[in-house]
């Protein structure tokens, strides 16, 4: 096992800032790095200032927040459920959000606020349905948090069915918007959306960090956690809900960005982190970097066509995961 060095924090911070700067500089119109820095300070060419401050910066910040939220959520869930394959989207979060958004699209909702709200509402409902389904297993199963994973998969499958019905019965021109949303995108980044997501990530993320040490103990299994003075059932449920809300906020802001919540915690652990407070922080930084980089790739690789962000993260994530699996076996 690798020994974690505190210098890694600096490396993670530098890489995040560097990737963000590159992402701000590149696009249909390239802005030299010097001009980017000047524009960030509201100096220089007004066009550059407009591109940097109104178009690219909110998009980069939104991407970083989405990645941070998903990374932190994934790290928390994998520890709580003691499962390296757990990820926020397995808990019904994504399915619920998609149902909310797709139904809103199908009903002809216009305006980002309606879609965002519908997605967030859908995912929160799905999470509570998952919790309820997880509880029907009776006392023995209820004590086992892993039942929640199965419940999440069931709720996700149901959500998929609802989405297909909604899409099949929607007007064709509305389907495209819904599909594009489901593929994940930071295209519509606006400062109001950024502010909304930043608020959620900071508040929920703060709560996650506050209780993080409980997850160190929960990761040892419920009986051991209880013997160490943690109310495993309550702590597990709390971790589950916090992680789900964090993921729901990112989904509402940018649609489905797959694989980040699954892969990023593995990178953080590969750096030698185990205690969940630093692990979750590192996962947030790495996740932010990864999504900003993926979004840059999404809008530049096939320019002027923009590829779906969720597809890029999955394209990056799957090979990475296969390498991890190979190394582990």
């Amino acid at each position: 096992m690798r020994q974690f060095h505190s210098a890694y924090w600096l490396v993670m911070g530098v890489v995040l800032v560097a990737v963000a700067m590159i992402a701000i500089a590149n696009g249909p119109v390239s802005v030299p790095l010097g001009a980017v820095i000047a524009a960030l300070r509201s100096r220089g060419d007004p066009t550059a200032i407009a591109i940097v401050r109104d178009l690219r910066l909110p998009r980069v910040v939104l991407g970083a927040l989405v990645g941070a939220g998903l990374g932190a959520s994934g790290a928390m869930l994998q520890g709580t459920l003691r499962n390296p394959l757990a990820e926020p989207y397995l808990l019904g979060v994504s399915g619920g959000a998609a149902v909310g958004a797709v139904v809103a699209f199908a009903l002809g909702a216009i305006g980002e606020a309606a879609i965002t709200l519908a997605a967030f509402g859908g995912s929160v409902i799905a999470v509570f349905v998952t919790l309820a389904v997880g509880r029907t297993g009776g006392r023995a199963a209820r004590g086992d948090l892993r039942t929640l994973l199965i419940a999440g998969v069931i709720v996700g499958a149901f959500a998929n069915a609802v989405i297909m019905v909604a899409l099949a019965s929607a007007e064709p021109n509305r389907i495209r918007g819904a599909l594009w949303w489901m593929m994940g995108s930071a295209t519509d980044a606006t400062w109001s959306r950024v502010a909304w997501l930043a608020g959620s990530v900071l508040i929920v993320g703060g709560a996650v960090i506050y209780w993080a040490r409980e997850i160190d103990v929960l990761a040892l299994g419920e009986d051991t956690a209880v013997s160490l003075g943690v109310d495993a059932e309550r702590a597990g449920r709390r971790a589950f809900i916090l992680a789900a809300i964090l993921a729901a906020a990112t989904v509402a802001a940018a649609g489905l960005v797959g694989f980040v919540g699954l892969v990023v915690p593995h990178i953080a652990r590969a750096m030698g982190l185990r205690a969940h407070r630093p692990l979750i922080l590192a996962a947030a930084m790495i996740g932010g970097t990864l999504v900003v980089a993926a979004d840059l790739a999404a809008r530049t690789i096939a320019s002027p066509i923009e590829l779906p962000l969720g597809a890029i993260t999955a394209l990056l994530g799957v090979p990475f995961f296969l390498i991890q699996l190979r190394r582990a076996s």
Partner: protein, 266 residues
């Protein structure tokens, strides 16, 4: 000291109480063994000590107070438990793992201080695993892992230690080593409550055996009092003889092949 008083525990939808009016005491400085056939209520009693099952009647008293009246962390400072199963999902350094035993003292935010470091060192030394401190938990043998788990419980610095089947899957040498470790921990003043199927080892190491059957105490006494062939035969439903361990004279159980018994009775 752990005292279980008239404890009744039932699981929903189960026809009979899992634990049905059990009382016993596990005093400081002694090993008390909970033995009995599968399903006799041993593990349920451990779960009751942890507050993991609903107690219908009676109570578990730990260090003078009802376990249910204590906060989880106060309880964890009085009794450390090594549960039967533990599936640590992510391998970590042994020292960090043992350090998690300090959680009841540290809570969510206090960072480990000198006392905590000392408790961890002491737990590593007591369990004889100092040289494993920098290994990762996935690189341990079964015997090493059990010692590491005991060290984690010792780092809790609780006056009572409960172990649920700590020697399952261990070979003779590792099994003996764990029992010797428990004996030395008892000598150092801990109250040790041990759930075990290994009647012969328990007979050599435990001061008291509480033999359970169908959720009730069948007999509670010294190994010599408990290890009676007719009693064990009726509880386990299998022909046995009780002989003497040739080395130390402790009672020893020998389960018989069924035909052999008839030969012996002839």
């Amino acid at each position: 000291m752990i005292a279980v008083e008239d404890l009744v525990v039932s699981y929903p939808a189960a026809p009979a109480n899992a634990v049905d009016g059990v009382s016993f005491v596990s005093p400081s400085g002694k090993i008390t063994a909970l033995a009995g056939p599968n399903g006799s209520g041993k593990s349920t009693i451990v779960r009751a000590l942890l507050g993991r099952v609903d107690i219908v009647r009676g109570k578990a008293v730990i260090g003078g107070d009802d376990a249910r009246s204590m906060t989880p962390s106060a309880l964890a400072q009085r009794v450390a438990v090594v549960p039967q199963r533990e599936d640590a999902a992510f391998p970590m350094r042994v020292r960090d793992y043992v350090g998690l035993g300090r959680y009841p003292h540290l809570g969510l935010w206090r960072s480990p201080g000198f006392d905590d470091e000392q408790a961890i060192e002491q737990a590593l030394t007591q369990s004889g695993i100092e040289d494993l401190a920098n290994r990762t938990t996935d690189a341990l043998s079964g015997g090493e892992w059990q010692r590491v788990r005991i060290a984690r419980a010792l780092a809790q610095h609780a006056p009572a230690l409960v172990l649920d089947e700590p020697t399952t899957f261990l070979d003779v040498a590792h099994e003996m080593a764990i029992f010797e470790l428990l004996a030395s921990l008892a000598r150092s003043g801990l109250a040790i409550l041990l759930v075990s199927h290994q009647l012969n080892l328990v007979a050599r190491f435990a001061h008291t055996i509480v033999l359970l059957n169908h959720g009730r105490v069948a007999v509670n006494g010294s190994p010599n009092e408990v290890m009676k062939a007719d009693r064990l035969e009726s509880i386990y439903g299998w022909p046995v003889v009780v002989t003497r361990d040739p080395a130390v004279g402790a009672p020893a159980l020998v389960p018989l092949r069924r035909p052999l018994r008839h030969e012996l009775l002839k």
